[in-house]
Amino acid sequence: MTLRVTSPSLAQKAPGEIFWLKEPLPKLEASLPRDVFAVLSLPENDRSTAHRETLRSFFSSASPEVKKAEKELADFSASARQMKPQTTVPIMREMAKPRETHIQIRGDFLAKDKKVTAGLPAVFPPLPEGEQTNRLAMARWLVSEENPLTARVVANRYWESLFGQGLVRTSEEFGSQGELPTHPELLDWLATELVRLDWDLKALLKTIVLSAAYRQSSKVEAKRAEKDPFNELLSRGPRQRLSAEMVRDQALAASGLLSRKMYGPPVKPPQPNMGLKAAFGPSLDWKTSTGEDKFRRGIYVNWRRSNPYPSMATFDAPNRFVCNVRRTPTNTPLQALVTMNDPVYVEAAQALARRMVKAGTSPEEKIVRGFRLCLTRHPKPPETQRLLAFYEHVRKTYAADANAAKAMATDPIGPLPAGSDVVELASWTVVGNVLLNLDEVFLKR
């Protein structure tokens, strides 16, 4: 008879290195407490719960590491029990008996045509022989090596997010209604790289951003532009407007207001009161979140599909009713109104001003600071001169109107910091508002 005993030193081993001891019985008897040995002598099926507990506690008492791990487990279990769910997450399960599915003529669920079953389009490699047609099989098939499509689609989406347009322009549609890739070999190479890199998206991104194509200047030279108006030949670097969420996050980041807090329920940044109720629902107005929640990243902003956050809808955030892979960027006067006048952006300009005034003593130094915060570059001399002239003009205006200066410097951000000059802060706020509205600010290039 051979007993199989897990080693007491098991906790010191890395996972996967668990091994089994094979010891002669008498030697084992001598080294174990009697009750433990008695339990071990029983055939495994005859052991009671109490017997098993005896064994377990003996082996764990023999190992401080196991004890420590057990305590951690107990602590985590206790805190898990105390957690209250913030939301429910629907999950899907295969039905024991699959539902009958019919073609619905013109999408009408009452106009049923012939019965259909799950399967794959014939152009694709089939599921492995004997595999059930369920979601798990589908998941495996999606990333199987025989299926080139998934990796191409993924690689193309990341290319699109970096270059503004995919190698396949219709990133949502790789079928017969979509466009052909501009660089099919490149797309295939990226796709095979993605698989070779074990689907590591960071590695894929690194590969793309280190490419010469990505790193070249986005400057548009007239001659090249004529030959390559769409940049299909990648004759220049990418240049694209930031997404709605990024436009807001960036203004908050440049001004130093952005909260980097992660996770948790959605937040409610300032939104104008409309005095309207939802149909058969409560008021659409909300109470603005307080503290840093007011300045959380755009992805945490509360999203009500029938009433999306207005400034983001203006910057082309989709309504989220239909899947939207690719946003169509627009350039409209309503966007200009948002970044000029939305209290969120006014507050950002005020906070930016409070950062700028701390830089050096001369206005030039403050301009450099503002420029670097908004554009991550130094201003060119004509830019500094233009802003300086503007600053002087604004200063004169506010010197003559203390009330306007106070409003501009403090509403909505709050009272002036001790010892600060209201005219100064109001003037830099207006300059900051200009900086945050520069075309270059909205672009990734």
Binding site: V220, V322, T328
Partner: protein
Amino acid sequence: MKTNPALENLLLRTRREFLGSSGIGLGGIAMARLLGEGRAKAAVTYDPTTPQLPRGTHFPAKAKRVIYLHMTGSPPVLDLFDYKPLLQELNDKNCPDEYLKGKRFAFTSGVPKLMGTPHEFKRHGSNGLWFSDAVPELAKLADDLTFIKSMTTDQFNHAPAELLLYTGSARAGRPSMGSWVTYGLGSENQDLPGFVALISSGVQPNGGKNSFGSGFLPSVFQGVQCRSKGDPVLYVTNPKGMSRDLRRAGLDALNDLNRIQSEELGNAETITRMAQYEMAFRMQMSVPEVMDIAKEPKHILEAYGAQPGATSLANNCLLARRLVEKGVRFVHLFDWGWDFHGTNPGEALGNGLRKKCATMDKPVAALIRDLKARGLLEDTLIVWGGEFGRTPFREGRTAKSKNLGRDHYPDVYTMMLAGGGTKGGFVHGASDELGFRVARDKVHVHDLQATILHLLGVDHERLTFKFQGRQYRLTDVHGKVVHDVIA
């Protein structure tokens, strides 16, 4: 390249227009192309600097602009326009089984009682159109109005019915009627949004912003909600402490800095953005101006029953006139409170309906008269109605109460049109004797959409937008123009 989705077209157009050129005024010169020339389902082409510049039509338009009056919740047309003497006779009798079999209603089960209207009906106008005493002012305009009494829809709950009517699909996500129209036609005024939504009675439409949203069309075509309180358009007001002069000075600095950058990098889109800021600056002036009804003479305010500073359908009717007068293409009004179930005295057919109608009848009639007096009615289409009809029987929940109410009913109902090339003094189609079924000339909501586009000079089958591999249109795969209502 294969087919050009709209975006590529835009990009092509911009770059061609702007490369090697400079100056803000350029966008204004850019041509506006006829939409979808020939029978091909080509995308609409336009210059993204001036996406709202008027574009040509497929064929000569009868209507240049639309005022759509949505009575959110669906008014009981059997008590307003669609008179049923037999229903009066059979009042309180059990509803015949043939009308109930296989049907589901929102709030009624079992065998409900037929219900005649508590309102008096009379014939009006030279063609003897029927009106109830709840709408005395509209009755006086009988010769200007066209009724479609054979409307039908697929949906019997508010949100899906409203979405079907305004986006062509009962599921949210598609572009709305006004956004299709401004995408197809642009607008006559570049300093105001081409598509404006006005909401009264305190509640959003059932479809939320989707009822006037742009769906997957570029967001520049979404309906812009204008208000008579607060910012007339969101963020149109400068921050506190910033004068218009200072804003101008700031924009001058901004333009100079953008120009320095664009001269170095040669990007045409920088110039596009500068043009948008200039338009925003003009909007800061033009929007508050057009939204300020206090400038209207007293007799006009009185005719509409409008009061500066209030939020009401009356104010919105007057605003609609001011907006279309300035060339706004599509003005969509939503007035909450027409869901006459009889669940409370305000939503009961007798006095409740009379009171609610008093807030609608007078301003809508005033709007039609005012447009006519200004010579605008002939090319401004007015559409009035709800998202579905209401049952010829008493609603189940309120059957025993004092308040008379009707349930939701999709199979047949009435809508009203005026101006914009419609006949006037005319009725198209009819419901059956009890108001349960279409008796002749059925008009589905997709047909209404096709007809509205047709009056605007647009072929509903050729106004398309490619999204996710498919050409979409307002009428989906349906829609027949109702030529009978066109003068």
